[in-house]
């Protein structure tokens, strides 16, 4: 929506003093943050810990913040040209520094490296990313004299993107599914790739499960991991104490988690919004603390170990030799390979996640699903229509919890060992982040978000330590930019006139 330059935009004369003041304040804020975080580094030295100061780095950070702020002001004041010139130059310098060893050979490269403001490549890449973004924005501003969009316009535009993605999802979904099905047979699918695949699918399943509670029913549940834990422990204890097999324990664990969901839901569902979030957060922690302290039952911090691996539908085991039974590779006349089990786990979690997905898609179009959404929209109106709000919310809570329980069982059998450490609040936050980032109620959004938030950090292990930082940043951006989630777009559950059709003009 490019508006002609003349109208609507006032190009004020630049106030240099104000610019410098604003940028200085930014630099000062950065100083306050950086002096502690960057300025001092603790080192392990023989006999204790030493502190090394890195004040030069702090100065560089401040300078960058100053320059960056100036660039932002220039963009804001519709003067993109200087930014357009300086930002690419900075990018180039950073890139040269980063890749110096590859470009100039190791010797002179290493010499150059001494000029690098930071020795941490991640920070350098971060700076590169920022300069690139600034350059792109400047280029955009230069070509389109853009009117800044109002929140609604941006929202409408994002909704159209969301709608587009969802329309594409009808094609993309089967395609992704096909890709997932053939993945284990790809030449590059080694153990690591499959493990990451399993992990991503677990979070996809959890995301889809939580999406029922948060996306459809609008109940902000910050303690979702509690039900995951209940499922995992139910499964683990059943399997280790009572020798119940995976295929029997799985539904039972789901049931236990679902029951826990209903029981915990009962007292808290009168609360709304923030209050519900806080109380569910508390409940989530309570469950973890109980698991941690009920030593005789759960093993406390020692956890439960020796959880049996799943069998091939109770027919065969995934081991090299099975004393009393069949081994999977013998059953199919294959060479024994430890990856068989991982492939099986991969398909298992794929199937479980798909069940959640199909269930959600279907139930959304049933009265209960519509009632969930209606409750999210207006509980008072629901009551005036004779909808029982408590039971309706409890079903959402219970079903969401049940799916978490299934996922928990899978987690237990995959790990072979569980302890309360796996069920901290961070897990709830990650799952919620997947739902929020993907977009409330958007099934494909959850997949994309899970890949981005779980898969990518796994692949790039170096970045792992920055994961939480990136999470936080992504969340803040989403909340500022599009609170409903990136790909949130609601498709009606039924239409009077088919999709994209104009109503016929009769009656």
């Amino acid at each position: 929506m490019a508006v002609s330059a003349a109208e609507g935009i006032d190009i004020r004369p630049l106030n240099l003093a104000a610019m410098v003041r604003e940028a200085s304040i930014t630099a000062l804020v950065v100083f306050a943050l950086a002096i502690g975080l960057v300025g001092f580094e603790t080192l392990d030295v023989p006999g204790g810990v030493a502190i090394r100061t890195r004040f030069a780095d702090v100065a560089v950070v401040m300078a960058l913040a100053f320059v960056g702020r100036i660039a932002l002001i220039l963009l804001r004041e519709h003067r993109p040209r200087p930014v357009l010139i300086v930002a690419p130059i900075l990018t180039a310098i950073m890139l040269v520094l980063l890749l110096s060893e590859t470009i100039f050979g190791s010797e002179s490269g290493a010499a150059l490296k001494r000029f690098m403001p930071f020795h941490d490549p991640v920070v350098l890449w971060g700076v590169v990313a920022v300069t690139v973004i600034l350059a792109v924005r400047a280029a955009y501003a230069q070509t389109h004299v853009s009117s800044s969009l109002t929140l609604e316009e941006r929202d409408a535009r994002m909704d159209r993107i969301g709608a587009g993605v969802q329309r594409a999802a009808r094609l993309l979904g089967p395609l992704l599914l096909g890709a997932a099905i053939v993945l284990p047979f790809m030449p590059f699918a080694d153990r690591r790739v499959l493990d990451i695949g399993v992990l991503v699918l677990m979070y996809v399943m959890l995301g889809w499960g939580l999406n029922i509670v948060v996306g459809l029913a609008g109940l902000l549940d910050l303690g979702y991991v509690a039900f995951y834990a209940v499922g995992a422990y139910s499964f683990a204890l059943l399997a280790t104490q009572f020798d119940v097999s995976f295929w029997v324990a799985l539904p039972f664990a789901g049931l236990m988690a679902g029951t826990a969901g209903v029981l915990l839901g009962f007292p808290v569902l009168r609360l709304r919004g923030d209050y519900l979030a806080i109380v569910t957060l508390g409940f989530g922690e309570m469950i973890r603390v109980i698991l941690l302290n009920w030593y005789s039952f759960t093993g406390g911090p020692d956890g439960v170990s020796g959880i049996p691996r799943p069998s091939f539908f109770g027919l065969a085991e995934f081991s090299r030799s099975v004393p009393d039974g069949t081994a999977f590779h013998e059953m199919f006349g294959l060479e024994y390979a430890s990856i068989h089990r991982i492939i099986f786990l991969f398909y298992l979690i794929l199937a479980m996640a798909l069940v959640v997905n199909v269930f959600t898609m279907r139930i959304r179009k049933l009265p209960i699903g519509r009632a969930w959404e209606a409750l999210r929209e207006d509980e008072t109106a629901c009551r005036s229509l004779g909808i029982n709000p408590r039971n309706t919310k409890l079903t959402a809570f219970g079903i969401g919890a049940m799916f978490a329980g299934f996922a928990g069982s899978f987690f237990a059998t995959r790990q072979g060992f569980i302890s309360p450490e796996s069920f901290t609040f961070i897990e709830s936050a990650v799952i919620l982040a997947i739902v929020v980032l993907g977009g409330f109620g958007s099934q494909i959004g959850v997949v994309i978000a899970a890949v981005v938030l779980i898969g990518l950090p796994e692949f790039f292990r170096d970045l792992q330590q920055y994961r939480m930082l990136a999470f936080g940043m992504a969340m803040v951006l989403i909340m500022l930019w599009r609170p409903a989630g990136l790909l949130a777009h609601r498709e009606p559950t039924l239409r009077l006139f088919g999709r994209d059709k104009k109503p016929e003009t009769n009656s």
Partner: protein, 302 residues
């Protein structure tokens, strides 16, 4: 107040005619020290429009909230003479009033499901019926024919009310994106989709332009004449009230000050006093002004 005894009888004489559908006896609602409704009794009839009028803060919405289970009355008995038996509304809490006793309502500040489509709003209104048809979700999950038929029927009913509220064209639009007047009508359509025996409308004409207001009158008359249900109507616009209601109840400071046919209420000195005393002259309709002259001269106004 002579009718007080007759409430005991099942078939009482309702001003404006019709079979008694609703009996309100000695309804009192207190909020702490504030008496929002003070010992109000009246009858509402089947197949009739009963208007409830009164100045701002008279307790009209509170009366609706008591009737529809949103508030529990401090004192009083609210009996609904439903074809399937009598319901004591004061004992039904919350959603059960709509679910069991088939009392539907609209809200003074429109309460739709804004991000659901118009059609979905009307389908949600048929929730309980569809829940049963879907075997509490089991039959629905497997897409059984029973459920699919029930859903098709629900869509038919929705379509019927869409046609009668002139919203058919907008069936697939998000309710929140409708213009104000359409939202008001949609709320009525949604209430009607619950197939109520008593429909409570809280200021349905508020904010409508004269044309829309006229259409609304037609719609309400249609509902009364064709569906023979009782309608309770809170309305400030006296032209609407006088034109379409069969029976008017006037509240002031929580007390009932008049009860009768439009003609009787128009000439009731108590009503005139309440409205004149209020000094809100824009609220004073010409009908009542006209009546005031006559009433001033009537002998029983000593």
């Amino acid at each position: 107040m002579s009718a007080a005894d007759s409430f005991a009888a099942p078939v009482a004489e309702v001003p404006g005619g019709g079979q008694t559908l609703l009996t309100v006896e000695h309804l009192t609602m207190r909020f702490g020290g504030l008496v929002a409704i003070d010992d109000v009794s009246f009858l509402g009839a089947d197949g009739r429009i009963t208007a409830i009028i009164g100045p701002n803060g008279a307790g009209k919405t509170t009366l609706f909230n008591c009737l529809t289970g949103f508030y529990k009355p401090t004192v009083g008995r609210l009996t609904l003479h439903h074809p399937e038996g009598e319901f004591l509304l004061e004992r039904l809490e919350g959603y059960r009033t709509a679910q069991k006793a088939s009392v539907a309502r609209t809200f003074q500040n429109i309460r739709l499901f804004p991000r659901m489509t118009v059609l979905e709003n009307l389908i949600v209104a048929q929730h309980n019926k569809l829940m049963r048809a879907s075997g509490f979700t089991a039959a629905g999950l497997f897409g059984l024919k029973v459920y699919r038929d029930a859903e098709a029927k629900a869509v038919d009913l929705a379509r019927y009310w869409l046609d009668h509220t002139k919203l058919t064209e907008k069936a697939d639009v998000e309710a929140g994106n409708l213009p104000y007047g359409d939202q008001r009508r949609l709320e009525i359509a949604r209430a009607m989709c619950t197939e109520p025996v008593l429909l409570c409308l809280d200021e349905p004409a508020a904010g409508l332009n004269p044309r829309e207001s006229h259409d609304l009158n037609d719609l309400l008359r249609y509902i009364r004449n064709e569906h023979k249900i009782g309608i309770l109507l809170i309305e400030h616009d006296m032209s609407v009230v006088m034109e379409i209601s069969d029976h008017i109840i006037v509240l002031d400071y929580g007390r009932k000050i008049s009860d009768g046919t439009p003609k009787a209420v128009r000439n009731d000195p108590a009503v005139i006093r309440a409205y004149l005393g209020q000094e809100e002259h824009e609220e004073l309709p010409p009908e009542i002004m006209a009546g005031a002259d006559n009433a001033g001269r009537s002998p029983d106004d000593a």
